[in-house]
């Protein structure tokens, strides 16, 4: 009960303590959590290029590898070699087929937490274990406070959260928060594991609030879009649509003989 009293006294000034040191201290040092509806100066996010994703699942396995060994882990695997294996993953790659034969397209669709700017999963959490970081907009779960009621998973329209069946706490993509600030890593490695692993460069990472960042330019120039815009969650992660490459010098498209 002492923790409870400490939490009450400190109110919002509760930081998560990852196993790998997060070396950037919050600038304001008083408030780690963003208030609902608060506009943040910085929002880290992924931009996923559906035009080049080949569905190799390298992002899935590298995510699992990093996070099961890091501050978010261990991520359980249940009967991994049985008939009905299951486990906790923060990132999945799905495959869709669009159009009708012979003009069908195969679209590989990576799917993880979108780190919404207005995350519906955060205000519903009864314990405050779910929160959105004020300094960079990452949505995180404090595993020491989560009671495993699953209400946040119900409140996420994207199904981005998965309960860890062994630890019985809710888990989700952390944008590799225990990696991207780690000054012991070379600068080029301070990116999420999925971004590092992608062989085709389909995953871009950066600050979507900075108009000159790679991600902002990609969203602007390549028609980046949000998933389920109808719920006004303002997902920070965006997707770049598939484009059909036009054949150089092909004049048929213009109706010439």
């Amino acid at each position: 009960m002492i923790h409870w009293l400490q939490d009450l006294i400190k109110r919002n000034a509760v930081a998560e303590a990852p196993a790998r040191a997060v070396t950037t201290p919050p600038k304001t040092a008083t408030r780690v959590r963003a208030e609902p509806g608060e506009t943040l100066a910085k929002q880290l996010a992924l931009v996923i290029d559906l035009n080049v994703c080949v569905g190799c699942h390298a992002c899935v396995t590298s995510c699992k590898q990093w996070n099961t060994s890091g501050s978010a882990g261990p991520l359980v695997d249940e009967h991994a070699y049985g008939a009905d294996p299951t486990g906790t993953f923060f990132n999945r790659v799905q495959t869709y087929e669009a159009g009708s034969f012979p003009g069908t397209e195969t679209i590989h669709f990576p799917k993880s937490c979108l780190h919404c700017e207005d995350p519906p999963c955060v205000p519903v959490c009864p314990t405050g274990a779910s929160y959105k970081r004020k300094e960079d907009g990452i949505v995180l779960v404090d595993y020491d406070k989560c009671i495993g009621c699953k209400y946040c998973a119900w409140a996420c329209p994207y199904g981005a959260r998965e309960i860890d069946e062994e630890r019985q706490v809710m888990t989700k993509c952390t944008l590799c928060v225990d990696r991207i600030y780690d000054e012991r890593l070379p600068k080029e490695d301070r990116r999420p594991a999925c971004v590092m692993a992608c062989p085709t460069g389909a995953r871009l990472f950066g600050d979507v609030k900075d108009p000159n960042s790679d991600v902002s330019i990609a969203i602007r120039e390549r028609g980046g879009y949000s998933l389920m815009p109808e719920w006004e969650t303002n997902p920070a992660n965006q997707y770049l649509p598939r484009r059909i490459t036009e054949v150089a010098g092909d004049t048929r498209a213009k109706g010439e003989p």
């Binding site: 009960m1 409870w4 009450l8 609902p36 699942h57 899935v60 009905d84 294996p85 299951t86 486990g87 906790t88 993953f89 999945r92 790659v93 799905q94 495959t95 869709y96 087929e97 669009a98 159009g99 009708s100 397209e105 195969t106 679209i107 669709f109 799917k111 519906p120 205000p123 519903v124 959490c125 009864p126 314990t127 405050g128 274990a129 406070k145 989560c146 009671i147 495993g148 009621c149 699953k150 209400y151 998973a153 119900w154 409140a155 329209p157 994207y158 199904g159 959260r161 998965e162 309960i163 069946e165 630890r167 019985q168 998933l227 389920m228 815009p229 109808e230 719920w231 649509p241 598939r242």
Partner: protein
Amino acid sequence: MKPAFSVVVFTTIAGAAQGLVVTLALALLAGLPLPQGFMSLALIVAVVMLLIGLGASFGHLGRPERAWRAAMMWRTSWLSREVIVLPAFIGINVLWWLALRSGIDTPLLPLIAILFAALLWYCTAMIYACLRFIEEWAQPLTLVNFVLIGLSSGLVLTCALGSLAGEVRLVQLAGPCALAVTLAAWATRMLSLRHNATLKHKSTLQSATGIKSGNIVQKSMGMSAGSFNTREFFHGRTLLALKQVKLLFIMLGFVLPAALALWGLAGGGTLAWVLAVLVQAPGLLAERWFFFAQAKHPQNLYYQVVS
């Protein structure tokens, strides 16, 4: 959604207990002379039911030992508010029972009990109604149904307890109310069923993936077997089973209790009211099961095929 047994039991039993307490409080406030022995017994029944509900709700938690933390975020979370209001409501009932035992007769405690019963219904219903993208729940009828179904089962239970204890005047007063509220609950539950039957969900596979094509087929969910997403959000029953449960809860939860209440009023006596409770209890459990099962979570759009 997959109906969680613990939540189904909790919301049904607590709802009936709230209805029982509200009925007793209103009867006292209306000036009905209820003997202290009967009141004590009825309040004990209500508190035991609430404790069973509270116990069941603990069963829903992965980490029940941390349950006390759930009272922290009452500023934003309806679940947190419910976690505060439920023990408060139990406490008020215990206080009321103690006051009755020590001969204190004050209209204040029944009034506060009614207020907290209403607050608890509001919190419980809003937990579901506030999730705007679960469109089967995000409607005012969710709150109406939680209140009316709770009141209906509470009134029927009061009549059964009253006739068992020989409280003729209480049954005379609460009996017609039980019939009327059960019929009203039936009507509003049918309205919400009709609302859900004509519901056109805002999210589509197109809006979920951003793929423009009118013809999208999922080829892989991204895993060979299941995941939390395929377990938590699918009830796993056939449409036929769902239809049968619907018919079952309409008959057992509303139609038969209303008929038995009519019989009870026409002179059926204790047997009619006790039968009504025994029939309505499984009916309302089925009703709450169906309430969860019928809700289609938009995340299910991403899980259409296992491969």
